[in-house]
């Protein structure tokens, strides 16, 4: 059974046995990576007021508390609305921008690209207080519109990168062929290019959704009043006291994220992708 340990594991003929420490180390790391995420799920079914694991008594009281609380429900709806709208706004704007930058021969491309990436590079706090400052002046503080706009610029870099990289490995000659056959540029894009970068577009949409849904700092500043987000309320709750309701909300968030990822796999796969 342990003869396996003496087999070579790499080009340099290191054996599995010699690498055992690496395997153990990697294994522990992977467990540590996944555990905290998953542990929230059973914790949320604990009956006790104090967070404990494993739960002594199982109950769904924290879920009931969550679903029956008007504040939490409002926050959830706000977050979902914001996330969907961000997805609907950021994806087309970003995909079209990525295409424009890819097909353009202007020297300004680099500058435009860097500019559109900055929301990812600038510390989020700065984006947050900047948006807060601007929104006070524009009068859109605590509105859904303001939230969606801010989340959109956060999501744009991701859309650009994902779509941009898909376009790079895409054969643009197909668009030329379509145009030579009689299709104007926009039609060629819609009928030929877009179906083939489907996976990237769907991934971009997913990323936009998650970016908005998960966003904390900006929401802290510009959401509230009639439009508080789930993350904002959760963060405040975390700072004040440890409410086990958060465990149930977290579980739901994990479920939502997983569903979105599965949907992305289902709708995004094209025959060309691995």
């Amino acid at each position: 059974m342990f003869g396996w340990l003496r087999k070579p594991a790499s080009e340099t003929q290191v054996t599995h046995g010699q690498r055992l420490w690496l395997y153990v180390f990697a294994g522990i790391t992977m467990v540590l990576l996944v555990t905290p995420t998953l542990i929230v799920i059973p914790m949320s079914f604990s009956e006790s007021q104090y967070l404990e694991f494993p739960p002594k008594n199982w109950s769904t009281r924290w879920y009931e508390h969550y679903f029956s609380s008007p504040e939490w429900m409002l926050a959830t709806v706000t977050s979902l609305k914001a996330a969907f709208l961000t997805m609907l706004v950021a994806t087309p704007i970003g995909v079209v921008a990525a295409y424009g930058l890819h097909a353009s021969k202007v020297k300004f491309i680099r500058i435009a690209f860097v500019l559109l990436i900055t929301p990812m590079m600038v510390p989020v706090v700065l984006v947050a207080i900047g948006a807060f400052y601007a929104y006070v002046k524009l009068g859109i503080l605590y509105t859904l519109t303001g939230l969606v706009l801010a989340h959109t610029i956060l999501a744009l870099p991701l859309v650009l990168i994902v779509t941009g990289s898909a376009l790079k490995s895409y054969d643009m000659n197909q668009e030329l062929a379509a145009r030579s056959l009689g299709a104007p540029r926009w039609k060629a894009f819609l009928t030929i290019t877009l179906p083939q970068i489907r996976f990237a577009v769907v991934t971009s949409a997913l990323l936009s959704f998650l970016t908005s849904f998960d966003e904390v700092v900006i929401a802290m500043f510009i959401s509230g009043g009639d439009n508080p987000t789930l993350t904002r309320n959760m963060f405040n709750a975390l700072r004040d006291q440890i409410d086990p309701t958060i465990a149930s909300i977290s579980t739901i968030m994990i479920v939502v994220t997983s569903i979105m990822m599965v949907l992305a796999q289902v709708f995004g796969r094209s025959k060309a992708d691995k």
């Binding site: 694991f53 704007i93 400052y133 990168i161």
Partner: protein
């Protein structure tokens, strides 16, 4: 019979129009970023030079040098970012290496353990650590039952907890670029090294490791930059004891409504971020970092 010259100006105009149209496709995005990010942050730059009395002053910046507490905040931020980055490298590199040596299908399965936390909400993960690291939390309970230590150790609301949480959040950001770089290393190079007489250890350190450094550097850089500006996890796991620059900015606005101070801190933070990125771009193609995050 038209002369060719007529079609020089017209062609020029056509070319310019087409270029404009293509570039125009990215204009909604550019407009958004300008209005919501560039202009407000630019404005904040000016605000940072306005003192408490509403007049132009350098007091916000002076405060950072003179007041000990501000100075300490910067030191703390740097310390934590450096430590977190170092820990990410120490923990993440071996895992990335391990995965790079596996056949693709198994490696993809292992990758799920990296991607799952990556996609899970930041708050959820931070909350999980908050619970795990408590005095009566899982870590303490298991450690004591395993005999690692006797008394529950305070691992949350301090530097330890903050570091643990941050490392956990940042690990995928390091692993993904390093892994991607490792996958691109030509296996034949290692065979060549072996054939030329290098021991496995020598082959690793003289061939494999140097070729993986661009990815490592990109990942480490990204982690470091993200740590500098990090807010959520230190705020929750630090319990107010561990104060980073981002938290000071937030408290300056939320508690003191001191836009001058907050802006100044923000400007400094941004400058540091840009500086680090610029230094790195001397050694690295910046677009690879952005692309390496996935």
């Amino acid at each position: 019979m038209a002369s060719a010259d007529i079609y020089a100006d017209g062609l020029r105009r056509d070319e310019r129009l087409e270029r404009l149209k293509l570039f125009g496709l990215s204009s909604p995005a550019i407009l958004l970023v300008l209005v919501i990010l560039v202009i407000p942050v630019g404005w904040l730059f000016f605000v940072s030079f306005i003192g408490a009395d509403g007049q132009f002053s350098m007091e916000n910046y002076e405060r950072m040098i003179t007041r000990k507490s501000y100075f300490r905040i910067f030191i703390t931020t740097f310390k934590i970012s450096l430590f977190a980055t170092a820990l990410c490298i120490l923990i993440g590199y071996p895992l990335a290496y391990f995965m790079s040596q596996l056949p693709n299908r198994i490696a993809n399965l292992c990758m799920i353990t990296v991607l799952l936390p990556f996609w899970t909400s930041l708050l959820v993960r931070t909350y999980a650590w908050l619970v795990l690291l408590q005095k009566r939390g899982l870590v303490n309970d298991w450690a004591i039952s395993l005999g690692l230590w006797d008394e529950p150790i305070k691992m949350v609301h301090n530097m330890t907890g903050t570091l643990i949480g941050m490392v956990h959040i940042m690990l995928p950001f390091l692993i993904l670029p390093v892994y991607s770089a490792m996958k691109q290393i030509d296996r034949d190079l290692l065979k060549a090294a072996s054939n030329l007489g290098a021991s496995p250890r020598r082959a690793f350190w003289t061939v494999f490791f140097p070729l993986s450094t661009p990815g490592l550097f990109a990942g480490a850089l990204m982690v470091f930059v993200l740590c500098l500006g990090f807010f959520v996890t230190p705020a929750v796991l630090g319990g107010g004891k561990v104060i980073m620059v981002s938290m000071k900015i937030v408290s300056n606005i939320e508690l003191f409504v001191n836009w001058g101070a907050a802006s100044a801190l923000g400007v400094v933070l941004l400058t540091l971020t840009v500086l680090v990125l610029w230094i790195a771009s001397r050694f690295l193609n910046l677009e690879n970092i952005a692309g390496g995050g996935h």
